[in-house]
Symmetry: C2
Subunit: 247 residues, 2 copies
């Protein structure tokens, strides 16, 4: 019988800059070969010192103009623009950009909740795939052969609510390509590529409270998607702008 178990890792301390997340995780849970370790972006960013104090940011002219239109804080808009390569939408109080990593999301993924100081915001990791590779190395160095996913909550067009997606990964096959394979009736499957890494991020989110008390979740039973190499990372999940009808 095929099955999957998701287990929340409890008891992680407040993560500070410089923390070794891999070490913190292996100290708290016995990992098995084939596990996927799903980690909230927020703790990865904190461990990497990717936080900023808004009071230290000087907003430029463009940020001040956009902030006035959107009713947002000018320093926050300045940071969003610094983290972005392109503004896709700026209306109705919403700022959707493409980040330097190539992710399309609100506010360049900058988050103002779950950070200790009121003036502090949290940016995405500079290179989330590199973060995943580093954390994977820390864990694999201790024995277990596992995959690592770094996830964040993104809103979606057309559908309400946020869903967790993968912004960085290592040791996991992010896409499962069924094109050319046949269905149960022998008919060739059409255009079926499954975003396994995003589904894994979503599954992990279900055992995690949004108060971020459980930033790390272990997925057990997905061995077939765990790879011995780091693999292509979450950049493989980016749809090229030239193939995207909704920009």
């Amino acid at each position: 019988m095929s099955s999957l178990t998701a287990i929340g890792v409890e008891g992680l301390p407040e993560v500070e800059a410089g923390a070794s997340l891999g070490q913190l995780i292996v100290e708290r849970i016995e990992l098995e070969d084939g596990d996927i370790v799903v980690i909230s972006q927020k703790v990865v960013s904190k461990a990497e010192g990717q936080t900023r104090r808004l009071s230290s940011v000087i907003p430029g002219a463009e940020a001040r103009k956009l902030a006035a239109v959107l009713g947002k804080e000018p320093a926050l808009v300045e940071l969003i623009l610094e983290e972005s390569s392109e503004v896709l939408r700026a209306e109705r109080g919403v700022l959707i950009t493409e980040t330097h990593h190539g992710f399309v999301c609100a506010n360049a993924g900058i988050d103002t909740s779950n950070v200790p100081e009121n003036d502090t915001v949290c940016l995405l990791p500079e290179d989330p795939d590199a973060s995943a590779r580093r954390i994977r190395d820390e864990i694999v160095g201790q024995g277990p052969d596992i995959g690592v996913v770094i996830s964040d909550s993104f809103g979606r067009p057309w559908r309400l609510g946020q869903a967790e997606v993968t912004i960085g990964c290592a040791g996991i096959q992010p896409l499962d390509d069924w094109r050319g394979r046949r269905d149960a009736h022998g008919r060739e499957l059409e255009a079926t590529v499954i975003a396994v890494a995003d589904e894994a991020a979503a599954a992990a989110d279900l055992v995690r409270g949004k108060d971020s008390s459980i930033p790390v979740v272990i997925l057990r039973g997905l061995d077939r998607f765990v790879t011995s190499e780091d693999g292509p990372g979450a950049v493989a999940l980016r749809r090229p702008a030239s193939e995207d009808l909704f920009r």
Copy 2:
């Protein structure tokens, strides 16, 4: 320790029109109170006779024109248009519409794989929330207090690969609204509404092969999202067009 288990239900027969899915499921797995039963759209559509033979469809002028532009079968395009209220994009071989249900997806959710006859295609259920309520009734009538999700694979803008989402549900809270609640540091959470039903659909997909040999998956450990009433259904997941920046 918080955890979630997803269990694939094996041994379901080929589902034919008129089948009672609830009955077929309870015969094959011992359900517990608080389980969520996630069912692939395809078997629900088949049980409801929502299949069509392309050779029986007479394409109209608009369908023939679009089919020529997109390189698609005219009869298939006719069916897509019949199932849709609005065409959002028709280019590069891709037809994105809003269905009568209010879902934005490719080909109005019509699927040509995993159907026994080569000429047959499968439409979405007419009212997937009603389908979920009916299947829930069939199961709850036998004892266990469970939620039902009907799921389908949708593509996404900006990201490659399809992810499973919920197109119908009953007995489950589709959105978990954290607005106004506080994070671990006492700061109010901003705009955080989690699409729990979509994350549940994604989690279930991970234990299901795309050859559709496992159309039913049980999620155990999400009792807190299971409700005694049918609830709002998946229509609650539709973002109103007036609030959508990507149409």
